[in-house]
């Protein structure tokens, strides 16, 4: 329970993410499971790993007593459990949650939106404004990471061959070949998830994280510099903004066509066709923004780490040794 090694903590969170993803499948939430599998078991663990390589791997021994915290936790938990006693039973069909808007989504969405996946029609059509806000939050978080971690434009890396020879990704031949074969299929799968989201589980959010996961895999195995050359940073940033812009402009176009903001019925002569166009476009926008923001976040974490390593290598070697001896200061490993 009192794990001091943060690496173990991160590993456990990854397992926890995978477990909750399979749990969501059991509870019929296939779309959610998709997202959680890519995010909880993949990207979040990776980001935490990147962070602990920069901040040090172990936790300082505790100096304060946890009794007060335990007391607070038990009181809050007890009150919450007391509060659940009036809740409807797990899985009950006549719970109030299922009486409000859900029947309309389930019974009428086929006539009104014409998309078999109800989750997609609620996400893209009934609650499109809500989703626009969420995409904006993701975009803003990407900008925040960019502002916090991005480095001033670097001069050309001095000794590519020397420094990269030591890198792990130069050595693992099997991993590199296997991933080189796999990555196109992962990308293809992401595209399938993106464009098949109307008919099966999937959509822009899931496709975005899967696409980004493939690119992050590429960056991990072939080095950040190679990945940066393939996926130009400023173009990725532009795509993040373009996705959000595409989403919002669908709303503006439907305004100009005489409907409400994000009311796709007016996008084509036939309301159902209009809905299809609208959902396709906004899902595309969501996919663009999510992919680009995830890539931005990963590249900035990894780039910062690389710069820190280079800085410690370049600074005088005897200072390096003393730093390594005094447990873990800057640089981590």
């Amino acid at each position: 329970m009192r794990t001091k090694d943060l690496l173990a903590v991160v590993m456990l969170t990854g397992i926890y993410g995978l477990l909750s993803a399979s749990f969501f499948v059991v509870l019929d939430a296939v779309d959610v499971a998709f997202t959680e599998a890519a995010v909880g078991a993949g990207i979040s663990g990776l980001l935490m790993l990147a962070a602990i390589t920069m901040t040090g791997r172990s936790e300082a021994p505790k100096r304060h007593k946890p009794l007060l915290a335990l007391l607070v936790v038990f009181i809050t938990g007890g009150m919450l459990i007391y509060g659940t006693l009036d809740m409807p039973y797990f899985g009950s069909f006549d719970a109030p949650v299922h009486q409000h808007v859900a029947p309309r989504y389930i019974n009428d969405s086929m006539q009104e939106v014409g998309v078999p996946n109800i989750v997609t029609s609620v996400l893209g059509s009934y609650r499109a404004f809500d989703t626009l806000g969420e995409v904006a939050v993701i975009f803003t978080a990407g900008i925040g990471v960019l502002a916090l971690l991005s480095l001033p434009l670097r001069r050309k890396p001095l000794q590519i061959d020397e420094s990269s020879e030591k890198q792990m990704h130069e050595q693992h031949m099997v991993l590199r070949i296997v991933s080189k074969i796999l990555i196109p299929f992962i990308l293809l799968f992401a595209l399938y998830v993106q464009f098949h989201g109307d008919f099966g589980p999937g959509g822009g959010f899931q496709a975005g994280v899967i696409f980004a996961a493939a690119i992050i895999l590429y960056a991990m195995l072939f080095g950040l510099d190679t990945a940066r050359r393939v996926f130009n940073q400023s173009i990725v940033q532009l795509i993040a903004a373009l996705g959000l812009l595409l989403y919002a402009s669908v709303g503006v176009v439907s305004l100009f066509n005489g409907g409400n903001f994000l009311d796709y019925n007016v996008l084509a002569a036939d309301p159902i066709a209009g809905q299809h166009i609208g959902i396709l476009l906004i899902e595309l926008g969501v996919g663009f923004t999510v992919t680009a923001v995830m890539i931005i976040i990963f590249f900035n974490f990894a780039g910062r780490r690389e710069a820190q390593q280079q800085a410690t290598e370049l600074s005088s070697p005897e200072l390096n040794v003393t730093q390594a001896n005094s447990t873990e200061q800057k640089g981590g490993e």
Binding site: L6, V9, V10, T13, Y16, D28, A29, V30, D31, V32, T35, E36, V39, I43, L47, M48, A50, A51, I52, T55, E59, R63, H64, P66, L70, V72, V73, T76, G77, L80, I81, T84, Y89, F90, G91, S92, F93, V97, Y105, I106, S109, P116, I118, V119, V122, R127, A141, G142, G144, V145, L148, L149, F199, G200, G203, F205, V209, V290, Q329, K330
Partner: protein, 122 residues
Amino acid sequence: MFLGLYNYWIVVLLMMIGFYIVIAHGNLIKKLVGLTIFQTSVFIFYISMGNVDSGSAPILAEGVARYSNPLPHVLILTAIVVGIATTALGLALVVRIKESYGSIEEDEIQIQDQLTEDKTSC
């Protein structure tokens, strides 16, 4: 008689584990892990509320009479991606804190803040 409520109890348990980690641990990364657990417990809360006995995944198909409630799925699906984006922001802040304070333990950071405050005030 209350056994049908077990999903809420699991959620409360997970939520309290996350809460405990956030308030009892000084390490900032661990606090973020605690927040992630707390967040997942909320996800599980919503998803389990949307579940219906002998229901099916909310994708319209022939011969399916009962579907789970799609609304919680929509809310949580977007919340997961928003969650990872904000967690990344938090981790970025932690990295910057490490760079300027040399530590990510809450009490050490507080001591340093106290010292600089004392210096500026007198």
